[in-house]
């Protein structure tokens, strides 16, 4: 059992490292991508000077994230005179923690057999094999939605406890908007559940390594292109980013439900938002883009259409899967940033109208068509 402990501790460290790195790097990606999209250069002045030398490492402004973090840590932690200081203090963590926890059920690789990877460790690990996933739960997808729904509580807590009308308006908007889009996210995923017949994320990924119609990779986006679009839109709305950033619309509500937060507490909200970009990327990858596998790839190697197979060694498979998963997350995060810097913000009534009068019927129609198709084909 000590082996399990070692492996899972390693997984947890890996997951936390990945998420924190994404949270930091995405702030840089967001700035740089926005700049490049609008013919600018972007943040490029922060540097780290090697001590005792005049060598300044700029690295395309990669250290601006560090500078931001440092700034937030040393800023004054100003607190409003609120009646509910406990809720005020705990709200950032209620937003931040579930975002991290979602990653526990997302598989970031196939199977890891330590003895095969490092023969010198065979005596310690025996023939144990571990799925590259912190918690392999049958109800993986449900856990994702359960934790995803918890961030609403944090936003509402922050808004109510701040004792500020702007915060409260932001919290009300956040509540109605997130609950609306939560529903649509769930409905769009229902189609996938009908096709795959499971909510276990690892099983979903494994089913996507097959071949569809003889030449297409059996990815979720091929099965359900419509649902993928709706899911992405609903996920961006769930994350409260432009074009759905009504809860924190600067021009109307200062910063919405976290107007009254300063220093690292405000930083936690921002950090949670950036990590959630990565989480949405991971979730979209897992559900629609074949997870950690390249097209036609499974845990034993490639099996191309036409019967041509390319077996790979265990080490190569594990490394490829880890890298591919991170790469796909990065691409999806970049896409979300592209959306955020391209589209204008909705009006508030339009946001809810869009959810209930446009996306909900479409999601339901998609579900019905999928159900009929699955029933006919079965």
């Amino acid at each position: 059992m000590i082996q399990d402990l070692v492996i899972y501790l390693l997984y947890i460290v890996y997951a936390l490292a990945v998420l924190m790195t994404f949270g930091t790097v995405l702030t840089w990606v967001e700035r740089k991508q926005a700049a490049v999209m609008s013919d600018r250069i972007g943040a490029n002045r922060a540097y780290v000077r090697i001590p005792f030398t005049q060598i300044k490492l700029v690295w395309l402004g990669l250290f601006h994230g560090l500078a931001d973090g440092l700034k937030m840590l040393v800023k004054e932690d100003w607190r409003p005179k609120t009646y509910d200081w406990y809720a005020y203090a705990v709200a950032p963590w209620v937003v931040f923690t579930p975002v991290l926890l979602v990653f526990a059920v997302i598989p970031f690789g196939g199977v890891l057999i330590p003895a095969k990877l490092f023969p010198s460790l065979a005596g310690f690990f025996g023939d144990r094999s571990y799925a590259l996933q912190i918690a392999r739960l049958d109800a993986g997808l449900l856990i994702v939605f359960a934790f995803g729904g918890m961030t609403i509580i944090g936003a509402m807590l922050a808004g109510w406890s701040s004792y500020n009308k702007f915060s409260m308006l932001g919290a009300l908007r956040a509540g109605s908007q997130m609950i609306s889009y939560e529903l649509i996210m769930g409905l769009t995923v229902m189609g996938l559940i009908l096709i795959y017949g499971t909510v276990d994320l690892t099983a979903i990924v494994q089913q996507q390594s097959g071949i569809l119609l003889g030449f297409l990779p059996a990815w979720g986006i091929v099965h359900q292109p419509f649902a993928a679009t709706l899911f992405m839109a609903a996920a961006i709305a769930e994350n409260k980013r432009i074009p759905f950033d009504l809860p924190e619309a600067e021009s109307e509500l200062i910063a919405g439900f976290y107007t009254e937060y300063s220093g690292m507490k405000m930083g936690l909200f921002m950090f949670a938002e950036f990590i959630e970009i990565a989480i949405i990327g991971a979730l979209f990858t897992t559900l629609f883009l074949g997870g950690y596998n390249l097209p036609f790839m499974s845990d034993s190697g490639f099996a191309f259409p036409g019967g041509y197979a390319l077996p790979m060694s265990h080490g190569a498979v594990v490394v490829t899967q880890l890298v591919v998963f991170l790469g796909k997350i990065l691409v999806m995060s970049s896409f979300q940033i592209l959306v955020r810097w391209s589209l204008p913000r909705f009006r508030y009534d339009q946001v809810l109208m869009f959810a209930w009068k446009f996306m909900l019927p479409l999601a339901l129609a998609n579900l019905i068509v999928t159900a009929i198709a699955a029933w006919v084909l079965a």
Binding site: M37, D39, L338, V339
Partner: protein, 192 residues
């Protein structure tokens, strides 16, 4: 009594086709435009060009500075390299920001210009670049470049610029002052 509210219809009221009203297609077109710009700029950057319109401010000089832009000051020089300034203090007097400080010296060996500046300093942290010093100078001794080379500094204390830097001007083509000639041994002396 209360008439039903009629929203005013403006002459430039936007009218949308069903294609635009469907929202999704135009969204995709917009995303296509922005990502195309992104990819174009990234490609420029990867092929060693600058994928941006931005000019790095202190490091690069904009090409489109006006010809008569009022930038950093320079002190013109006599053929022997001494400043043309006669330390009359007119620029310091007219300066609205009071940034010019001149200490005058006496040189009996030069009968034409016995008065010369020992110290001529400009505090650029306060200079407003109005150009009045250039207007006031009777000797055409102070001019303004169109750029501001080396002026942006990290420290306010470093912006107090003295004569050694103001005298670094070495024009190659100047109709009004065809001197000083580059080398001291050059015999082609211009009019004084």
């Amino acid at each position: 009594m209360s008439a039903k509210y009629q929203r005013k219809v403006y002459w430039n009221e936007p009218t949308m086709t069903w294609w635009e009203r469907a929202y999704l297609f135009e969204i995709l077109r917009g995303l296509g435009i922005t990502s195309a710009v992104f990819l174009r700029n990234m490609w420029r950057w990867m092929t060693g060009r600058k994928g941006a319109l931005t000019t790095y401010y202190p490091e690069e000089t904009r090409w489109d500075y006006a010809k008569l832009n009022r930038g950093k000051h320079i002190l013109t020089q006599r053929p022997d390299g001494r400043p043309q300034c006669v330390a009359c203090n007119m620029c310091a007097t007219v300066c609205p920001a009071k940034v010019i400080e001149i200490d005058a010296g006496f040189d009996p060996t030069d009968a034409a210009h016995p008065k010369y500046p020992i110290r001529f300093e400009i505090d650029y942290s306060r200079c407003v670049f109005c150009g009045l010093c250039v207007e006031a100078c009777p000797e055409d001794a102070i001019r303004m470049l169109k750029e501001t080379p080396g002026l942006p500094r990290f420290d306010r204390g470093q912006m107090w610029i003295a004569m050694d830097e103001l005298l670094t001007w070495n024009p190659q083509h100047d109709v009004a002052k065809p001197y000083p000639v580059a080398a001291a041994g050059d015999k082609k002396r211009g009019p004084a």
